[in-house]
């Protein structure tokens, strides 16, 4: 049985872009990344899985149960972190945990306090006084506290500092070892690379690709910016350049291949300054996946 299963799931509404014919499966115990640029339909998909939105057509199942007809039962087994965390402003953190715990059997508020300690969150404060990052921690804890089988996290790391992010990832890995299925969305490829077994890529409401991380690791991307003091000859041809942008005194491109090869090629260029950075996912989409999708359509 798949932990999560989407079959031709479509959601259209108003002027906002929805999702169109999305199909994929997440295996139990898998960490599955769902990546795409802003507005691609990540949150729409997730909100449909949680039955905040009703699908226009298609179906989705979690743990073999339909997300619409068995929504209430399913929520028992799901921990959800929304992309924007909004809580009842008048509550203290500890009150929110108690409120949250009240919905589940057993006393999960103890576990919440353990998690709070681990994430260094002061539970005696009022939620409205918390910083964005601390609110995110509240969201993470209330998603994990009842030890759900399925975790659905919508951009979980936005707002967390690097230290917290690594504690959080550690938590997720521990949960995976206990058999928890983790489905999370992100627009940072680097995040996904560290953690996921597989990723689905979505753009403009449509699934573009599902990849094993191992395959994706083979495809390494770098964004390279060369700066020239003076006008340069603009005749350099490098191997592995996907997309380039040439001006009189700069050369910017996305590189796909082994980084060492990149450096070996760069040695021969008379640049004055260089920056090499991780490209945003959007940048890779724009050029790599868009091209590939086009080829698949027979263009």
């Amino acid at each position: 049985m798949n932990a999560i299963e989407l079959n031709h799931l479509t959601k259209r509404y108003g002027k906002a872009r929805g999702i169109e014919d999305v199909t994929f499966q997440v295996a139990q115990g898998e960490i599955f990344g769902f990546i795409g640029p802003n507005g691609a339909g990540k949150s729409t998909t997730i909100r449909t899985l949680l039955n905040f939105l009703y699908p226009t057509s298609g179906t989705a199942k979690i743990l073999g149960k339909d997300v619409v007809t068995e929504a209430k039962n399913l929520r028992q087994h799901i921990g959800y972190l929304p992309s924007e965390v909004h809580y009842y402003d008048d509550m203290k953190v500890s009150e929110l945990f108690r409120f949250s715990a009240g919905f589940y059997p057993g006393d999960s508020s103890k576990h919440a306090l353990e998690l709070a300690e681990r994430l260094q969150l002061d539970t005696s404060r009022k939620i409205e006084d918390l910083s964005f990052g601390n609110k995110k921690k509240v969201g993470i804890i209330q998603a994990l506290m009842h030890e759900p089988q399925i975790l659905i996290l919508d951009e979980p790391t936005a707002g967390l500092d690097p230290l917290m992010q690594s504690i959080f990832f550690e938590l997720l890995r521990e949960l995976q070892q206990k058999g928890t299925t983790i489905f999370f969305s992100s627009h940072y490829l680097s995040e996904v690379q560290k953690l996921c077994n597989r990723v689905a890529i979505i753009k403009d409401g449509r699934m573009i690709k599902i990849e094993n991380m191992e395959d994706l690791h083979a495809k390494k991307f770098k964004k390279v910016h060369l700066h020239f003091q003076n006008k340069w000859d603009q005749k350099i041809r490098l191997e592995g350049v996907l997309q380039e942008n040439v001006t009189d005194n700069s050369y910017e491109f996305i590189y796909n291949g082994h980084t060492r090869n990149l450096l070996e090629q760069l040695v021969n260029i008379q640049f004055d300054d260089v920056t090499i950075e991780e490209p945003s996912l959007e940048e890779i989409f724009m050029h790599y996946y868009e091209k590939e999708a086009g080829e698949n359509d027979g263009l």
Partner: protein, 266 residues
């Protein structure tokens, strides 16, 4: 029961502010009744000078100031029905929609609770708040009558005149509650709910002044709990009672139906 408990707790502050404000007002009004009663004749002379329309509008023509109950029905009852209805509409109008406009619904509905449970528990919380509100107001009223010193109060009439505002409040609350299931912004719902209450009040005044427009009384809940009728007949008109109960049932049902199918986060 988590949602019910939460809403009950959250309503406390406003509940007691409104109760004390309205209770204090009616108590104050009743405590000046003895002075009115002393000068009954002069007062009646004075009333003759008022335009007939105004006497009709406030039921003074039918009730008069000659008993504490009549005095209350003219003066205090207005506060309890009108302002109480405003409170009820604001309370109920925010119940469902505030989760969406504050964007807390994503948190709430990720918990194992069905949408129907959310609606029912919130409706129940509104009902309880209004019952407590009216009960406490009635107790304050009763004390007010004691201070007013009228020898005996007909308990049947007193019970009815206490029950009627509760029915009215529940009616407006149900309307606002039902309405709020159809919107996404709390401010809009609050404005519309208030407009309904004030418009109904306006219609009830117009209907009692003008014979031509008296048919309008059918569309205003204020008329359903007309104090003159209740005091004279010692009853609430059954047809009005049925209309109010129907409004409540239909509104809450509509809220449930709509909420079950609603896309909650966009």
């Amino acid at each position: 029961m988590m949602v019910f408990k939460r809403e009950w707790k959250r309503a406390q502050k406003a509940l007691w502010i409104w109760t004390l404000a309205l209770g204090g007002m009616t108590f104050l009004i009743m405590s000046v009744y003895p002075q009115f009663a002393e000068n009954k004749e002069q007062l009646q002379e004075l009333m003759k000078l008022y335009p007939e329309a105004m006497l009709k509008a406030f039921n003074i023509d039918q009730l008069g100031f000659d008993s504490a109950l009549g005095f209350y029905a003219i003066e205090g009852y207005l506060f309890v029905t009108l302002f109480g209805s405003i409170y009820a509409a604001m309370l109920a109008g925010g119940m469902l929609v505030k989760e969406e406009s504050d964007r807390t619904i994503e948190f709430l509905l990720s918990k194992p609770i069905s949408r129907v449970q959310v609606v029912v528990q919130k409706a129940a919380a509104v009902a309880l708040v209004l019952v407590v509100f009216n009960t406490v107001l009635s107790v304050i009223n009763y004390l007010g009558f004691q201070v007013a010193g009228d020898d005996h109060i007909d308990m049947v009439t007193f019970t009815l005149i206490s029950l009627a505002p509760l029915l009215l409040h529940l009616t407006f609350a149900a309307l606002a509650f039902g309405l709020s299931a159809f919107f996404r912004k709390q401010r809009l719902v609050t404005s519309i709910s208030l407009a309904i209450v004030l418009f109904s009040y306006f219609v009830s005044i117009v209907a009692s002044i003008s014979d031509k427009l008296s048919k309008l009384k059918w569309i205003t809940p204020f008329e359903y709990v007309n104090s003159a009728y209740i005091i004279e007949q010692a009853s609430i008109k059954p047809v009005y009672l049925i209309i109010m109960i129907m409004i409540m049932v239909i509104s809450v049902t509509a809220a449930i139906m709509k909420y079950m199918k609603k896309d909650l986060v966009i």
